[in-house]
Amino acid sequence: MPNKILLIAEHDGARLNLATAKCVTCARSIPEAEITIAVFAADGAAVAAEAAALSGVAQVLRIDHPAHAQPLAATIAPQAAKLAVDYGYVLGPSTTFGKDLMPRIAALLDAPQLSDVMAVESATRFRRPMYAGNAIVTAEVPTGARLVATVRTASFEAAGTGGSAVISTVSVDADLPSHTRFVSLSAAKSDRPDLQTAARVISGGRALGSAENFQMLYRLADRLGAAVGASRAAVDAGYAANDMQVGQTGKIIAPELYMAFGISGAIQHLTGIKDARTIVAVNKDPEAPIFEVADIGLVGDLFQVVPELEKLLSQSQ
């Protein structure tokens, strides 16, 4: 008996989000997986074609409706829940789209949800992080019961292309609510990469001393094409904006390169960076806890190190 999996596609109306291809890889690691991707869009032709080309996908369902021009959970959930009746698993990415939508579907199905699945051990056993990744838990769900899950996309490679799944257009008989209305979307207007997804991140702590001094980090970040983050202490002191906070109560990030300047390494900060590939720490205090997790450490005054670093890097480019 195949395990029928319904995967809700994330897209921007024109292109499939890479997160969906990563969810396909997660879904394929469920034994006997038979994967269907559901595309809720105003006109899903292009997105459905992309989804159908993902390797390992059996079927793509297009649910076109003008109300799907924006991905509102209140609109998609009742339809997805009706479709899900034929499936044992309902999956979505653990992005803000999936985090918003999937629990609403789970509740309508009266099904349990596992968030941030990072590994599949069997059809009923999964691993996921808790306590901001300070504990990895193996969770078991009942055999034969329907499961809703979000997929921690950083844990899976994107599925390749070369597939040729059948695309069918379906309509779902569900009442679409009018109580939730989309008003606007303003994209982050910074020219710098997004902190959450950037390959390189430069962060500053309270040792920066002022918002003006943070400019130094912005210049270095621009030199490296990096995003800029801050410790909670720097945010609390007003040196950096709230949305720059890296840590358990801010953003949990996993860049290729993380450079921490004047950050001592409070637990709540370290929790937010421990999945970074390489951590570089610069701090005056040789006893700073950040050095315990840093791959490369330098004891020094950031007000000398940062300009010098910028100079050396500009010479090399």
């Binding site: 509102l72 959930a77 918003d100 509740a107 078991e140 609510p177 008003v183 570089v280 610069v282």
Partner: protein, 249 residues
């Protein structure tokens, strides 16, 4: 009465280094500082601000859990909530069960808004608010960084991956809070004294007609792969060399 229901959760304080028990049965909580989940504290603060702007008359704070949770309810009362509901249980509560309990409280209290933290920093599920909205068949505005009440609707700015999204929702509705929404107030000693006299009602989980079903069994807890201490460099030149060697610059 125009009422706001806020649900809070007692969790290990965000400053505590969480450690997995050697037998893998969970994390160490004995003798560990417990606090209101930080996102829930933001939810309490937002409800108070809405009340202080005259757009609501009463803030009711609720929690589900063992007797110790009353400490966190008292903290929320000291912040300024008007009364508290404690749904008492020793059982582990999954998000869907929590949502079913909150639905019962919603039916009882008839709030114009239910505000919850976007996630609890213990299980990191980020499910309960959305599930409550589904069961209640009302709008949800998750990960809110700005809330404006306008008559019988709310305009909510949400922090989404693509930027800031604004939704308009009819009330009643469920809102879940993101970090940027506000900065919770500090509790002063006189407020703590005053909070002791505020009403705190204890309800029994079973009497509400909700069963604490365990559908997700947590078999084993493990610590994450540990990072090891790397190398120290002497100066910026060595730092740049080390970065180059790793192909990072």
């Amino acid at each position: 009465m125009k009422r706001i229901l806020v649900s809070i959760k007692r969790v290990v304080d965000y400053n505590v280094r969480v450690r997995v028990k050697p037998d893998g049965s969970g994390v160490v909580t004995d003798g560990v500082k417990m606090s209101i989940n930080p996102f829930d504290e933001i939810a309490v603060e937002e409800a108070l601000r809405i009340r202080e702007r005259g757009l609501a008359e009463e803030v009711v704070v609720a929690t589900i859990g063992p007797a110790d949770c009353q400490q966190q309810l008292r903290t929320a009362l000291a912040m300024g909530a008007d009364r508290a509901l404690h749904v008492q249980t020793e059982a582990a509560i999954e998000p869907l069960t929590a949502a079913k309990v909150l639905l019962k409280l919603v039916e009882r209290e008839q709030p114009l808004l239910a505000i919850l933290g976007k996630q609890a920093i213990d299980d990191d599920s980020s499910q309960t608010g959305q599930m409550l909205a589904a069961l209640w068949n009302r709008p949800q505005a998750t990960f809110a960084s700005k809330v404006e009440i306008d008559g019988d609707m709310a305009r909510v700015t949400r922090e989404v991956d693509a930027g800031l999204e604004t939704l308009e929702v009819d009330l009643p509705a469920v809102i879940t809070t993101d970090l940027r929404l506000n900065e919770p107030r500090y509790v002063k000693l006189p407020d703590i004294m005053k909070a002791k006299k505020k009403p705190l009602e204890t309800l029994d989980l079973g009497a509400l007609g909700v069963a604490a079903v365990e559908r997700i069994r947590l078999l084993r807890f493990e610590p994450p792969a540990q990072r090891t201490k790397g190398t120290m460099v002497k100066d910026v030149n060595e730092l740049v060399d080390a970065l180059r060697k790793r192909g990072l610059v």
